[in-house]
Subunit: 122 residues, 2 copies
Amino acid sequence: MSRTPPHPTRDQIELPMVLDCLGDPTRLAIVCNLARHDQAATELRCGDFNALSGKSNLAYHFAKLREAGLVQTRIVGTTRYMKLRRGDLDARFPGLMDAIITSAARDADRPQFPECEVVEAG
Amino acid sequence: MSRTPPHPTRDQIELPMVLDCLGDPTRLAIVCNLARHDQAATELRCGDFNALSGKSNLAYHFAKLREAGLVQTRIVGTTRYMKLRRGDLDARFPGLMDAIITSAARDADRPQFPECEVVEAG
């Protein structure tokens, strides 16, 4: 059984909050990784991002992403599963996520982007 | 005669810094107004934005926009003239500014966006 922490509805997702949230390089890297896995309709586990930052730091970033409406989170036991809210984001801000993810991928070798080795869920 | 404060080069403009900068509703409103006037290739004066916020607060926002590479500023006497760096931004992040400006325009009636009555330069 899974439980779901509070999320903003599609209409409650606000542009400044989304931009502010993605202004952090760690959160931008998390979103780019989720976007890459989104095409396979896979959820990622919070533990898949352990290479990016410390655990408590990551928990803070995951909460910020959820509160801004960027990710959908469900909790099973002690594990958090996350998915990018691609449909909601594309409906609210057409073309925005595509432009951000493409630009981030082009700049992925810059020092501002933390390396992220995502471990596939087993 | 005009003088020019320091600006990042096109290549020094970084995605997280641009997103972080536009995560502030006042700076987002300034950029949307500059974009609207950009089509007429007009520069706006800092005083044109006085309806948005207090003077010292605006000076802080203008500096943040310049440092992030979003605006080109030149100073003539005590007046700052600003232009959106549309060419540089479109070259670095294709489609990003369009998506942000279109989304902001769609959401312009939301309380998160400060009303901005831009006074045309005489």
